[in-house]
Amino acid sequence: MTDLQTPQADAASTATAGAEPLLEAIDLVKHFPVRRGMMASKLMVRAVDHINLSVGRGEALGLVGESGCGKTTTGRMLTRLLEPTGGKLMFDGRDITHLKGSGLRRLRQDIQIIFQDPYASLNPRHTVGKIIATPLRVNGIKPPGGVRGRVQELMELVGLNPEHYNRFPHEFSGGQRQRIGIARSLALRPKLVVADEPVSALDVSIQAQVINLLRNLQRELNLSFVFIAHDLSVVRHFCDRVAVMYLGKVVEVGDRTQIYDTPAHPYTKALLSAVPDVTMLGTKGDNRLKLVGDVPTPLNPPSGCRFRTRCWKAQEVCATTEPPLAQVDTGAVAACHFPESA
């Protein structure tokens, strides 16, 4: 998988060309009920509201957006840590939307997750060897070379010294702990890894080490990735395709060049312009598009296009009609009545 040429996607369906995707989310919904006071009100947080996504085999899909846009909830549904309220999730040709019990446990062998916080996601009382072996033990898998052999092989794969098998998490630095988490996620040879902000807790120099590690692993093992992050430049270095989310909706999906060089949705454009980048030396923020206000509440999202309350291009139609995701002339798909042209 060379990452640049792969996804000449049939963009309108947001699917990769050729073979069927490994994972497909169709019209996926997650609503959380809120209880206020004594009344069991019918208020719903519409965390994820009818989204379509697909991840091809060996592809890295980036999921970006501000906090509260639903990217983490989406990730949790894709790994089936949460059960969708509506819609369908297809994995490897199977419907996994409402899997339970042993079926769900078997699915975990194929879909794994890497967490954001390398401190909170490792049991401090377990040795590294035990932590990495947990998925094997839970699933009753006896690898040919023995559990210890497999664990040490995994440690070597992620750049940890296999001799440190008996050490505890506190003896490792943040970057090394994240490597432990990565080794654990790979123990069952998954087909898909969902990484939720895997590098945002790390120092710059360490962050680059972990990004490179994930990139190499992806190539070597032909893994599929869903990479959830708020840092747009990190996503650009890791992902072939990127989906931009806003307030529970996917507003734009495209390959790397489409999203970063010719963003079509005004929100994508604003988001990109807000990133302080090293290459913007001496600009003093002059290129920033000023977005007014805050993200509205997902309890009661705006009618029509959800971005219209902050959009500088908004017109009447934006309030009345929700724009569908459709192909625009940049080649990406975007949900906007007045997309930017290439």
């Binding site: 060379t2 990452d3 640049l4 501000e66 906090s67 630095s173 970057g175 090394q176 120092d203 710059v204 120099s205 360490i206 962050q207 680059a208 080490q209 990004i211 490179n212 990139r215 708020h230 840092d231 747009l232 430049s233 990190v234 650009r236 270095h237 790397r256 970063y260 604003a270 988001l271 990109l272 312009s273 807000a274 990133v275 302080p276 980048d277 090293v278 290459t279 913007m280 030396l281 001496g282 600009t283 003093k284 923020g285 290129n287 920033r288 000023k290 977005l291 206000g293 805050d294």
Partner: protein, 349 residues
């Protein structure tokens, strides 16, 4: 740098050392740091965790417990030496002569008091006005930092604010007295990019209006590139490079600065190329490496037994750029060659 300077810099730090005694030994968090900031100037202080950047900021405001920290050196604020000042006199300076914006707004705001009350308190410490006047000022400030319905928000508690709004409320509190020096310690790391942009713009506006000096402590080279006039790069408790933002970013002289530039992902350029991280980990401040603290991670180190391992390099000027200094034993010609061939190019946009 754009503004006319009065006599000398507003803040000047000379050979600051902050050591903490712990059970494991002496933590040399800051070990001989000197720099200056003038009014109207934004100084970026960059470094990774444990580089001493936050500890430096805290010692300017006198926030370290004197029983635990051993502090030496000199800090002059507008001509007044701060390290030997009494707590009462420091209090009079905090908030107006100097102020700090913290990274974590939830711990910096008091959970039991309304946001408005906390801002009013900060204002009335320095202004002998009625509560009503102070309230008007506080609401005006909340409005300035972009909080919608400031009148209603004034009476709410911190937990009723979202993360971004809390951060803005704290910034409103820090800036309510139009401070002459603002020390912002990673003020935007916890925020979304769009909010981060708003806050960087806000700081820039206030600076234009009141000619304040800003020290922006951050690990994000993007933020530095975007807003700083001058940059101080810290590593292992010391300054390793200093100069104008344009000099440091476009002609970096220290191998650590090179490493930082090569390891940050950007929005432009070839994304298929691997990043080039700095090998190893930042040093433990309990046991800072001998000589140049960066030598164990430096790919260009002169090797075993060389000056890199034995001698702490001095901050020396660079030919042709008198205000650009770096602490590295490599000959300048060697550094120039490496910089031209092996370091990410950053040009003035």
């Amino acid at each position: 740098m754009s503004q006319t300077k009065s006599s000398g810099p507003y803040l000047s730090i000379e050979d600051l050392k902050v050591h903490f005694k712990t059970e494991d030994g002496m933590v040399k968090a800051v070990d001989g740091v000197s720099f200056e900031v003038s009014e109207g100037e934004t100084l970026g202080v960059v470094g990774e965790s444990g580089s001493g950047k936050s500890v430096t900021g805290m010692s300017i405001l006198g926030l370290h417990d004197p029983k635990r920290a051993r502090i030496s050196g000199k800090i002059y604020l507008d001509g007044t030496e701060l390290l030997h000042l009494s707590e009462n006199k420091l209090r009079a300076l905090r908030g107006q002569a100097m102020t700090m914006i913290f990274q974590d707004a939830l711990t910096a705001l008091h959970p039991y008091y309304t946001v408005g009350r906390q801002i009013v308190e900060a204002y009335r410490l320095h202004h002998n006005v009625s509560k009503g006047t102070a309230k008007t000022r506080a609401i005006e400030m909340l409005d300035r930092v972009g909080i919608p319905e400031p009148g209603k928000r004034f009476a709410q508690y911190p937990h009723e604010f979202s993360g971004g709004m809390r951060q803005r409320a704290m910034i409103a509190m820090s800036l309510v007295n139009n401070p002459r020096l603002v020390i912002a310690d990673e003020p935007t790391t916890a925020l979304d990019v769009t909010v981060q942009g708003q806050i960087l713009d806000l700081l820039a506006d206030l600076q234009k209006e009141f000619n304040s000096a800003i020290i922006m402590v951050t690990h994000d080279l993007g933020v530095i590139s975007d807003i700083a006039d001058r940059v101080v790069v810290m590593y292992g408790g010391r300054v390793v490079e200093e100069g104008t933002a344009v000099d440091v970013m476009s002609t970096p002289q220290h191998p650590y600065t090179w490493g930082l530039l090569n390891s940050v992902p950007t929005l432009h350029g070839d994304a298929s190329e691997d990043l080039r991280p700095i090998p190893g980990n930042p040093p433990s401040l309990l046991n800072v490496p001998s000589g140049c603290a960066f030598h164990p991670r430096c790919q260009h180190s002169l090797g075993k037994g060389s000056a890199c391992e034995t001698e702490i390099p001095q901050l020396l000027g660079i030919n042709g750029a008198p205000n650009h200094v770096a602490a590295c034993h490599l000959p300048e010609s060697t550094r120039r060659r490496i910089m031209e061939t092996d370091v990410r190019k950053v040009e003035v946009a």
